[in-house]
């Protein structure tokens, strides 16, 4: 009984930590996104509120919380209200297994990475629910495109992840990190890294794969009919997904928390935010793909390449030993 209580308290406390991290990370990332895009386009970006606009997102968030929640007339009420929850839940659960340092992690599970993959797939379901329930043509189009996108990126993502799993022989994040003690996987598996980043960008619905949202054609895509806090939850989940995908890529390819001089947590966060910066850079470099182009690209290039990468990895591993 006492054990259960202690365990519950520990999980509760970690959840508070996770929620604060999710909030702070989203506030920071939105500011960073605006600054990065501004500087890429040679303009200053937000400058008024706080130092170089650092408090701008806090002001925006406060405004968003105060906004009225509008529920359009013909929505499918239950699914409409459930969609933000289904979107937000996997985001929280994924943090259960992400190791920020050898000691700073909630649970070091032997199914860790599999858990993240399993839960991150729920995001598509949430988008489909939101799009269908909204009774809005733009939202429905966004939802259908999201499914098409999932059909495209999911398999290469799983297959490239597998070539790392073979090398580590485990799903446990700490084992995967420890396996890169000498050389980071990015130098051993450069192709897998490129494929994983492409699929990860698609998974987070970031440009050039922001097909379900496509603000210039679909208004806001699947979350067109969501306002106030409900919209904020979608937004929060989206930015946290960027963090999670970058964290998984860091664990897989960049040696996790390992690095000289600085404490492990700092190294981990540095690597994660460097990858996020890369994804923001993509947004202002590549034009958006059509979803048929994405499907063709995934099935004709990504999947064959990841299959080849997997089989070559397996053979090389056997030859080396």
């Amino acid at each position: 009984m006492q054990f259960l209580l202690a365990e519950g308290a520990r999980l509760g406390l970690s959840l508070i930590g996770v929620i604060s991290l999710v909030a702070v990370n989203a506030l920071f990332l939105i500011w960073m996104e605006r600054k990065v895009s501004a500087h890429i386009q040679l303009r200053p970006g937000p400058m008024e509120v706080g130092f170089h606009g650092a408090l701008q997102t806090i002001a925006d968030a406060l405004k968003l919380i105060g906004k009225e929640l509008i529920t359009p007339e013909d929505v499918d009420k239950l699914i409409y209200l459930l969609a933000p929850i289904v979107m937000f839940l996997p985001v929280l659960v994924s943090f259960l297994v992400i190791p920020f340092s050898p000691t700073l992690l909630i649970r070091d599970l032997n199914v860790g990475v599999l858990l993240i993959f399993a839960f991150s797939t729920l995001t598509v379901l949430a988008i489909l629910m939101a799009g269908w329930a909204s009774n809005n043509k733009y939202a429905l189009l966004g939802a259908i495109r999201s499914v098409a996108q999932n059909v495209a990126y999911e398999i290469p993502l799983l297959l490239t992840a597998m070539s790392i799993i073979i090398m580590a022989g485990s799903f446990q994040p700490s084992v995967i990190v420890a396996q890169q003690g000498l050389v980071w996987n990015i130098f051993v598996q450069p192709l897998a890294f490129i494929l994983f980043i492409i699929c990860g960008t698609a998974e987070t619905n970031r440009a050039p794969f922001d097909i379900p949202e496509a603000e210039s054609e679909l208004v806001a895509g699947f979350h067109t009919e969501y306002s106030g806090m409900r919209f904020a939850i979608f937004f929060l989940a989206e930015y946290t997904n960027m963090f999670i995908v970058s964290a998984v890529a860091t664990i897989f390819f960049l040696g996790g928390w390992q690095g000289p001089f600085l404490p492990p947590v700092v190294w981990f966060l540095l690597k994660v935010y460097a990858l996020i910066f890369l994804m923001m850079w993509f947004r202002w470099t590549f034009p958006r793909l059509r979803f048929d182009q994405l499907i063709t690209f995934a099935w004709k290039i990504l999947i064959p390449l990841s299959l080849v990468n997997l089989i070559v990895t397996a053979f090389v591993l056997k030859l080396v030993r």
Binding site: G8, L11, G12, S14, L15, I19, G66, E68, L69, I70, P72, E73, D74, P84, I85, F88, L89, L92, V93, I106, R107, N110, W132, S134, N135, N136, K137, Y138, L140, I144, V147, A148, V151, E154, I155, L159, M162, I165, I166, G169, S170, F171, V219, T224, E225, R230, I233, D292, I295, T296, W299, K300, I303, P304, L310, I311, A314, F315, L317, K318
Partner: protein
């Protein structure tokens, strides 16, 4: 053994509570006013024509079916990936055959033109 995964369930339930709480709280707080125009779906200011839940030609349906097949094959590969180092040459060759069958399947589908967008 299974008790190791109990924290996932506990954490999941707490996280569900938090997510529901966030939505419910914002639901409870704040005023709501209704008007005919406000309750319409947002379509850039135009009056919506017809219902949005109309039939939509899902052109990627065939690819979605391949997706199911390949996704399950990927799941089959995962246990192999974990025990790969213990399996020895036998495991490698057997799974190489499996992956090659997968690749031949993809090549067949490709050759049949199923990946082609009409």
């Amino acid at each position: 053994m299974l008790i190791d995964y109990l924290p996932i369930l506990v954490y999941f339930v707490i996280a569900l509570g938090v997510a529901v709480g966030m939505v419910a709280l914002s639901e409870a707080v704040g005023k709501k006013t209704h008007s005919t125009v406000k309750d319409l779906p947002y379509e850039c200011g135009m009056v919506p024509v017809g219902d949005a839940r109309s039939r939509y030609s899902v052109k990627f349906f065939v690819i979605a079916m391949f997706f199911l097949v390949f996704d399950i094959e990927a799941i089959f590969l995962y246990p192999w990936a974990v025990v790969f180092k213990q399996l020895g040459l036998f495991g490698l060759i057997e799974m190489a055959i499996f992956i090659i069958v997968l690749a031949v399947g993809l090549a067949y589908v490709w050759g049949k033109g199923a990946l082609q967008w009409e």
